[in-house]
């Protein structure tokens, strides 16, 4: 939480309406996202109760489990979900593009587009992870065999849940987190986790304040929870009795009564899910109405890369992901996530002046007007002359950089600016900053037009840097140090089914 966002929240309280804290959208929104709203049965370990899923706002598909404690029905549900999700994901495995690799000595191929799943809230991502965990090890033979699509679904769901941990990835997103990253409401983060409340702060119905609409949405009768947890009142007063009727009917010998009881359950669960379905698409429209940030496309390309690799792995019969990472794999993964987190934060600041403003407030950036420019200045004190233009920028932001600091401008990321002088101006709280530029101007002693900021230009300089940082090095799995438990005894790669064996047969009752 920055002061800027905190102020936006105070302004939201006064205005009765959410205030923007970003000027561009920092996530990719697919043309065909799969909206996925799971519900689970209270008290059970991620036992699916229902999902509403689909890519078309007008045609949601509803799957229900009339007896979530029944393992057979759970696997039926998994198989039906696989029939929706697998064709959706595999539908993107068609057209490819060539991407040069290894310094253009080689090419690899990636799919032109990739699947995207949107769930209401972070707990929905938790559902995807756990449902992936409970299905990916299931066996198609032996006791309790399942359809081959069930373990495949598990691998895909696990893949999506893993991607959701990667900062900047847009493959599996929760709408509340995405909206909260772009809007400040006049309520706490705790309350922002309620999708209905959050969407109504941002886009209230006509003629109503966001604050009021959000309060109304807190009533589970008006706006049922977005899941996976259901409203206890609904469980006790409505769902419980209806399930009991279904159970009695399914044990009787009147198929018509059983079908009627099933339809009744479907109608009740549809009633719980439909308001969230509407909110999901309303929230997506809000996100789509913002222009994408400049680096969104490049991050989505990384998602497409990873998706392409994983579909190849799955098509090649790849083993299910391990239950837990080994020490080396965990360290490597953590390192990757940290790097992704850092570059995502910097890319957002470069793409979005309102995010950069947080760094201006913290003294890590300033915005000013170029008042002097010497684009053809040559430094000939070294062995050979080099082009080192200087510019002077006048800013009203506080400048805390010591002389000699290297800065960069988001509009010219290839060019560095070294701080030469920082001079406070007598009147008006302004500061003059003289910068010496290098890079991004070709090899000659004359700067190409447009490569040096011109007088009158408004420009941002910051100490944040997108520069290359070498990846960390980690020992191989066989060389896991004793401090981290030593080399693992066996691995899933050696014997995938052995490790999965317990999980494949584990009791699901």
């Amino acid at each position: 939480m920055s002061t800027l966002t905190a102020l936006a929240k105070a302004q939201a309280v006064a205005a009765g309406r959410a205030q923007p804290i970003a000027t561009v959208r920092h996530a990719h929104i697919s043309d065909m996202p799969l909206v996925f709203i799971p519900l689970t049965m209270a008290g059970e370990a991620n036992a699916p109760l229902a999902v509403m899923v689909g890519t078309d706002e007008d045609r949601p598909e509803l799957l229900i489990v009339p007896q979530p404690r029944d393992r057979g029905l759970r696997f039926d549900f998994a198989a039906r979900l696989a029939e929706i999700l697998l064709p959706y994901a595999e539908g993107f495995c068609s057209a490819t593009e060539a991407v040069p690799t290894d310094r253009k000595r080689d090419v690899r191929y990636r799919y032109l587009d990739a699947p995207q799943i949107i769930v209401p809230a972070p707990a929905g991502i938790g559902f995807v992870r756990l449902f992936g965990r409970s299905t990916r090890f299931r066996r198609t033979d032996g006791d309790y065999p399942v359809l081959p699509t069930v373990p495949l679904l598990g691998r895909w769901l696990t893949f999506f849940a893993d991607r959701a941990e990667q900062p900047g990835s847009s493959m599996l997103l929760s709408l509340t987190e995405m909206l909260s990253a772009h809007w400040a409401t006049g309520q706490s983060g705790h309350e922002d986790a309620h999708l209905g409340s959050l969407v109504n702060w941002i886009a209230p119905p006509p003629g109503m304040s966001g604050a009021k609409a959000a309060r109304l949405a807190e009533d589970p009768e008006v706006c049922p929870p977005a899941g996976p947890a259901t409203d206890p009142g609904f469980d006790n007063d409505v769902l419980g009795p209806a399930m009991e009727i279904y159970r009695a009917a399914s044990e009787g010998d009147d198929p018509e009564a059983e079908r009627a009881a099933y339809r009744e359950l479907e109608d009740l669960l549809r009633g719980q899910l439909a308001p969230t379905w509407e909110l999901m698409w309303r929230g997506l429209r809000v996100m789509r109405s913002m222009p994408p940030g400049a680096s969104v496309e490049a991050r989505w390309a990384q998602d497409r890369d990873v998706f392409s690799d994983f579909s190849l792995y799955v098509q090649g019969g790849g083993a299910p992901q391990a239950r837990r990472d080994g020490a080396v794999a965990a360290a490597t993964r953590l390192h990757k996530l940290e790097r992704a987190g850092q570059s995502y934060a910097i890319e957002r600041a470069f793409d979005d002046p309102l995010i950069m403003a947080e760094h201006r407030l913290g003294g890590e950036a300033f915005v000013g007007e170029v008042t002097l420019s010497k684009p053809d200045r040559v430094d000939d004190t070294g062995k050979r002359p080099v082009l080192r233009p200087r510019i002077q920028v006048v800013t009203t932001d506080p400048v805390l950089f010591p002389e000699g600091t290297t800065l960069v401008s988001p509009s010219k990321p290839q060019q560095k600016g070294r701080v030469i002088f920082v001079t406070p101006v007598e009147d008006g709280g302004k500061t003059e900053v003289v910068l010496e530029l290098s890079g991004g101007m070709g090899r000659g002693l004359r700067a190409p037009a447009g490569s040096v900021p011109e007088v009158g230009e408004r420009i941002t300089y910051t100490s944040l840097s997108l520069g290359y940082a070498p990846p960390g090095t980690f020992p191989s799995r066989e060389e896991t140090p004793w401090t981290h438990g030593g080399p693992p005894q066996y691995s899933i790669a050696d014997d995938p089914l052995d490790q999965g064996d317990h999980a494949a047969t584990e009791d699901w009752s």
């Binding site: 205030q19 008290g43 756990l130 965990r133």
Partner: protein
């Protein structure tokens, strides 16, 4: 309020002629949530039914529990305790100890069950005790606690065993649920220590490690984990001792206050809701968004605090320089009021933030 009466009498007067709400481990655990709130300390100390108060003044809370979850919890616990706790004994990997059910039938009073528990602690140190009855002093009042579980000796120390029905999947569980379970178990540890002291044994033989027993992965098989509850214990002790000094809080309240919920002819509380609201408002609250998850009165307190930065959360208030009122924050940011000396630093930052937002937000 008159200085001469005892805290108990004063609390009784606050509550009126209805029976005090009984505490249990869950409500005692909840006391550690927002220790700075006088309103909650006083209402809980007096045993006022906050849920009913909230309903009566028009801010009903939503604190239901799904019957599905209750059934699942009961089934899991019954399974563990079946056959004299055979599943538990197997899980703990110790020689089969003696098993003693202390529930004593439906007619046994709390006092009887408590003294039977004391006896068992004195005479059967190596016994698995099911349905023991413990007690704890909360705000000068004795609260009987019925651990839904068992106390049991392992490595010459007593361990509280807490049975919960949330799953541990691949050795990981929901941290929020684990932490709530740890706080509840700490209540039992404290009560068990007092019981041992009363039974003439060393209270320190109760371990500060509790055994949490949960279903493993997606199954009904139990798995146990040791949890260190020292931190929870110290928070609890601090809050309980604060409640023991409740008379100091009572001294700060105006005379004649009451939260009487005595029913009228229609079975609903007879008190005028507006008068009740006024009396509630006379006791200062310290609202924070976390209250919404734990306190029955939180919706009222939130509405009361709606113009305060407290509704936005503690971290937001800190970023706003600790200033309490939203309008003051905005006036300082716009520069329309002069900051007081202790607002000066915050005002500079707020004005800079305001200028940036004005420049960049269309």
């Amino acid at each position: 309020m008159a200085q001469t009466s005892t805290p108990d009498a004063r609390l009784d007067r606050l509550r009126g002629p209805v029976a005090p709400r009984r505490h249990n481990a869950r409500t005692i655990a909840a006391l550690t949530g927002n220790p700075g709130c006088t309103r909650r300390a006083v209402l809980d100390g007096a045993g006022v039914d906050k849920m009913k108060v909230a309903e009566h003044i028009g801010f009903p809370g939503r604190f239901g529990q799904s019957s599905f979850a209750i059934v699942r919890g009961n089934v899991f616990e019954a399974r563990l305790k079946a056959n004299e706790g055979a599943a538990l004994v197997g899980l703990l990997g110790v020689d089969v100890p003696k098993y003693l059910d202390l529930s004593g039938g439906p007619k046994a009073s709390n006092e009887e069950r408590y003294s039977r528990t004391l006896e068992a602690l004195r005479d059967n140190p190596d016994t698995l005790l099911d349905h023991p009855m413990l007690r704890l002093e909360v705000a000068g009042r004795r609260v009987y606690l019925e651990p839904d579980l068992v106390a049991f000796q392992l490595d010459n120390r007593y361990h509280v065993v807490e049975i919960k029905s949330f799953p541990v999947i691949d050795e990981q569980a929901d941290p929020g649920k684990v932490s709530a379970a740890a706080t509840q178990a700490a209540v039992y540890v404290l009560a068990l220590r007092e019981a041992l002291a009363e039974a003439g044994r060393d209270p320190e033989t109760v371990s500060h490690h509790v055994l949490l027993v949960c279903p493993k992965d997606f199954s009904n098989q139990p798995v146990s984990s040791m949890i260190d509850v020292r931190r929870q214990l110290s928070v609890l002790r601090r809050q309980l001792s604060r409640m023991a000094r409740i008379d100091q809080l009572l001294d700060t309240l105006p005379d004649g206050l009451t939260f009487d919920l005595e029913a009228g002819d229609d079975g609903e509380p007879a008190r005028d809701p507006e008068a009740l609201t006024a009396d509630i408002e006379a006791v200062p609250a310290r609202y924070a968004p976390d209250c919404l998850a734990t306190c029955e009165l939180s919706f009222f307190c939130r509405a009361e605090a709606r113009t305060s930065t407290a509704v936005l959360g503690r971290s937001v208030r800190e970023e706003l320089g600790g200033i309490e009122d939203v309008q003051t924050v905005l006036a300082l940011a716009h520069g329309t009021i002069e900051p007081t000396p202790d607002q000066a630093e915050a005002a500079v930052l707020l004005q800079a933030a305001y200028r940036l937002r004005a420049e960049l937000v269309p």
